[in-house]
Symmetry: C2
Subunit: 200 residues, 2 copies
């Protein structure tokens, strides 16, 4: 049995959203599972000197155009959020709390957070929005409110992010297949070739 | 008659090399021509805070792996040069000088420079190597030596680079089709979709 594909992402990353809509089907096609791992992309910028794409001169304007065009290329709905990027600590913590209870519910939550931000322009940095999304999927609102205030879950997201950086991860989405790293939704064709051939 | 596709590149950019091997065939498939435009990528970094990929922590190691894997994905030969990146002023100036005399010879020269660097690890920053490559394609060595010392050709490459930056170009390869900008060899599938559909 092969190891699961590792899918590292940040909820505020448009290319992570695109990959999130495609990666499970791609994996299933080749009999593989995917391990979803939200992280805080901003923490990697301290290591690489990176910055949110839209804040970079010249590249910023291009990237907004490329987000929408890339979504269209994949046939996915997309609307540039009115505020970008967003802090994703609350969404990331909620994900891991859900994940430790119900892996499937956590995945449904992750999809819902991405779509709330990149299709419906909802403020996913707002803990109320995060709780609403989780509640709409059957999570207990009071229980999650308490969990998000627990230092343990804050530590968990911090540790996951540090572990990702320790693995060399500097961007999102970042997908690892059989130890081979692929950065960006635009590497999905290379991932497919890898999965089909067991390497290059 | 459609306008030619504009192909901006730097001779020291691995992804530009990959695109250089693919762009003309892709254009021909859709009855289009390609205008090749070497530029100095380093000059764009001053605008964007960019840096050579391999010099960036974490991203640097990944990018070396991705250069080779991407070449393999496209079935193109590639060897990581022992010294990277290289100054490409001499190659760029030689290109424009040739281009104003014989467009086809200039394109053959551009292919030869890319392959000299990314397949044969030759030092394309060395004017002697640039002259050798041009001479092997029938260019007069003495005439080109004189041309490369002429301030006019230095000004030409500078102006082409400034014009590219004025158009918003911040990276390489950067390909413009019917006014639509595409950054990166990994956007070739999107370019094909654009060419096939006359837009998205």
């Amino acid at each position: 049995m092969s190891e699961p594909i590792e899918f590292y992402f940040d909820f505020s990353s448009p290319y992570s959203y695109l990959a999130s809509e495609l990666i499970d089907d791609l994996a299933t096609k080749y009999g593989r599972k995917v391990k979803w791992r939200p992280m805080l992309l901003g923490a990697t910028f301290a290591k690489t000197g990176g910055a949110p794409l839209t804040s970079i001169p010249l590249k910023g304007d291009y990237s907004k155009r490329d987000f929408a065009r890339s979504a269209c290329y994949y046939g996915l709905p997309f609307r540039l959020p009115s505020s970008f990027p967003k802090a994703t600590q609350q969404a990331g913590r909620a994900y891991y709390w859900l994940h430790d209870r119900d892996c499937e519910q956590a995945r449904a939550f992750a999809h819902a957070v991405f779509r709330a931000y990149f299709c419906d322009d909802r403020d996913i940095a707002d803990v109320g929005v995060v709780l609403d999304i989780a509640a709409s999927l059957g999570s207990d609102r009071d229980e999650m409110t308490a969990a998000l205030n627990d230092p343990a879950i804050k530590e968990r997201l911090k540790n996951e992010t540090e572990a990702a950086i320790a693995k060399g991860i500097f961007g999102a989405p970042y997908i690892i297949v059989d130890g081979e790293p692929f950065w960006g939704a635009d590497r999905l064709p290379q991932i497919e070739k890898w999965l089909a051939s067991g390497g290059f």
